[in-house]
Symmetry: C2
Subunit: 351 residues, 2 copies
């Protein structure tokens, strides 16, 4: 408490020793308070907290990390949509938000690492980053999380990682995913409940495993609603708006065309709506359209898209929290449930 009479402006950054002096306790006790460790008497905690506030003390991250053998860093790795101009940046934001939330709760920092999965150097880029920063854990988003060469490279660093992905073979690994299949079935049943008999489906890109599960869910849903499945009702897309257009044009040109189209992602659903507009088919009057993802696009287009909201933020939060050690996860896959977002693009089937 001696030299602490200097003005705040000229005073050097306070250390844990300064706080301990001011509070009249040992540095270890300050450490306990700062890290929310148990076994500190309430009155002591108060004293320490007052001292911390008075000195505007912020723990030195490097010192903490060095002493604790942890980096208090979580790395979030994802394929950067910005790099290829897909409209799904909201995707990334939601993951970041979730991961950040988990980090903030535990004094960790988030190192976000957008990268290009098509780049041959990604693997060394990632292992380099991991070896340099030695994060407490790595969260890997799709589609990187579905690419075994990348996952293996990360696995080789021995740093714990969790994949945001629909599945894992090995039970030594962890992943967090959505119930794509069940929720796709639910959407299908919802469409059936509106009176639709001919509900078509547009498949997505083959790299995304989650997207394949949506097709299965669609089939489940048809069956549950007592509707027959037919190859005739399925068209193939690749997740792009354009492929949605092509697929829709094909489906709608058939006689006995579908009255509802469920696309495996929002971009393709947007393509369906564009084609419907061009063909003079009203949505949802003559055609109901549903998507999947609840991307930003879903709310921008007219009519606003009925879709499935993936709990991306929760997923990332669960994963980050588990890596930090705040939360325990079952080995294998942890499922976080999605949610139907009923908006304007779906309605009763035409007579």
């Amino acid at each position: 408490m001696e030299k602490r009479t200097e003005t705040k402006l000229t005073m050097a950054k306070a250390t844990i020793d300064d706080v301990a002096d001011l509070a009249g306790v040992s540095i270890k006790t300050v450490s306990r308070v700062v890290n929310h460790e148990p076994n500190v008497r309430e009155s002591t905690r108060q004293k320490v907290e007052t001292a911390i506030a008075r000195l505007n003390y912020k723990p030195n991250i490097s010192a903490r990390n060095l002493a604790s053998h942890r980096s208090h860093l979580i790395v979030l790795v994802y394929d950067d949509p910005g790099a290829y101009d897909t409209p799904s940046a909201g995707f990334v934001i939601r993951m970041q938000q979730g991961a950040l939330q988990a980090c903030r709760a535990s004094n960790c920092e988030l190192l976000i690492h957008p990268c290009n999965y098509r780049d041959r150097r990604v693997k060394s880029e990632l292992t380099g980053l991991i070896e340099r920063t030695r994060p407490d854990g790595v969260v890997i988003a799709a589609p990187l999380s579905n690419m075994s060469s990348i996952v293996n490279a990360i696995s080789a660093t021995k740093v714990p990682f969790i994949r945001l992905s629909p599945g894992t073979k090995s039970l030594n690994e962890f992943s967090v995913g959505t119930n794509d299949r069940a929720i796709a079935a639910e959407m299908t049943r919802y469409l059936a409940s509106l009176g639709h008999k001919r509900i078509a489906f547009i498949t997505g890109h083959s790299k995304h495993k989650a997207v394949a599960n949506r097709l299965r869910g669609y089939k489940d849903g048809l069956q549950q609603a007592g509707l027959a499945f037919s190859e005739w009702l399925v068209a193939n897309g690749d997740n792009s708006i354009r492929s949605g257009e092509t697929a829709a044009a094909e489906l709608l040109s058939r006689d006995r065309a579908p009255t509802a189209i469920f696309a495996a992602n929002d971009d393709m659903a947007a393509g369906v709506i564009r084609i419907a507009n061009r063909l003079g088919i009203s949505v949802p009057g003559q055609l109901s359209v549903a998507g999947f993802d609840d991307s930003a696009l879903a709310r921008q287009i007219y009519p606003a898209l009925t879709t499935v909201r993936q709990p991306l933020s929760e997923m990332a939060e669960k994963a980050a929290a588990a890596l930090i050690g705040e939360r325990q996860l079952e080995p294998g896959i942890t499922v976080v449930e999605g949610e139907l977002k009923i908006r304007e693009s779906t309605g009763a089937a035409p007579n």
Copy 2:
């Protein structure tokens, strides 16, 4: 070199002591080699580097930071386009690339921090981040760099920062910008050189100072080309595609409509092209359109947009390098020159 006979798999992470032992030098010498310090004999350097490679030694960042009183961290702060679904994510990517390049060159890490300038909590979010991580420097991108309350908050942390922005009043500050005005004049002259006599301009969002400079450049260009300026040729936009549409509709509805439209950013230029399509005006046959930014959109739309490429990557690199201490910057503003990207949307004036 004693316990280093274990297999690589079971061996714990090598420390600087291990390397020193293996190479038969002191740890200080290893440190010199790792940090590219001068005054190390070539043969010694070789020995050390061999040892480093053999042990796959990676310096412990926390230890280094603690001892050197530096965090070896650069924070890049920008408004997150993903959060509001503008198509300008490429912007961010390019800045990141530049900053990353400077960081890689000096053993630094980049903490990228997207945030929402509309959120009231940004200031405390930023100061909190800075006080926690104590980065070596902060790079602030537009429009955050033009918002004095945010800049002041960052400035108060006493951590060095550089703004990516067209200007600074104070000579105690640093900023890196483009020659918006001169290059906008150049674009205008280019349009004039194609024979256009009525060249219109669509202004951008008032928050962006850089954008205001483009209007001045446009006026300069007209004058240099011997063309008269008229208020009548200027329409106001707010950087969005929609505002570009509105402005274009207005400009094109006038009699003696312009034969060329120069928009202060690419998004608005894209809006112009959409309206032209709707009105059946061919681009560039009847109307030439130019943008500014060279955003991803510029290459996606048809016809591909003639625009100005901002050297964002270079700008960010210069800024980051200066903060790291690799490069010296003049106080005040440092200008990095932009470049005309002539593509398909501009052509000879109609007869």
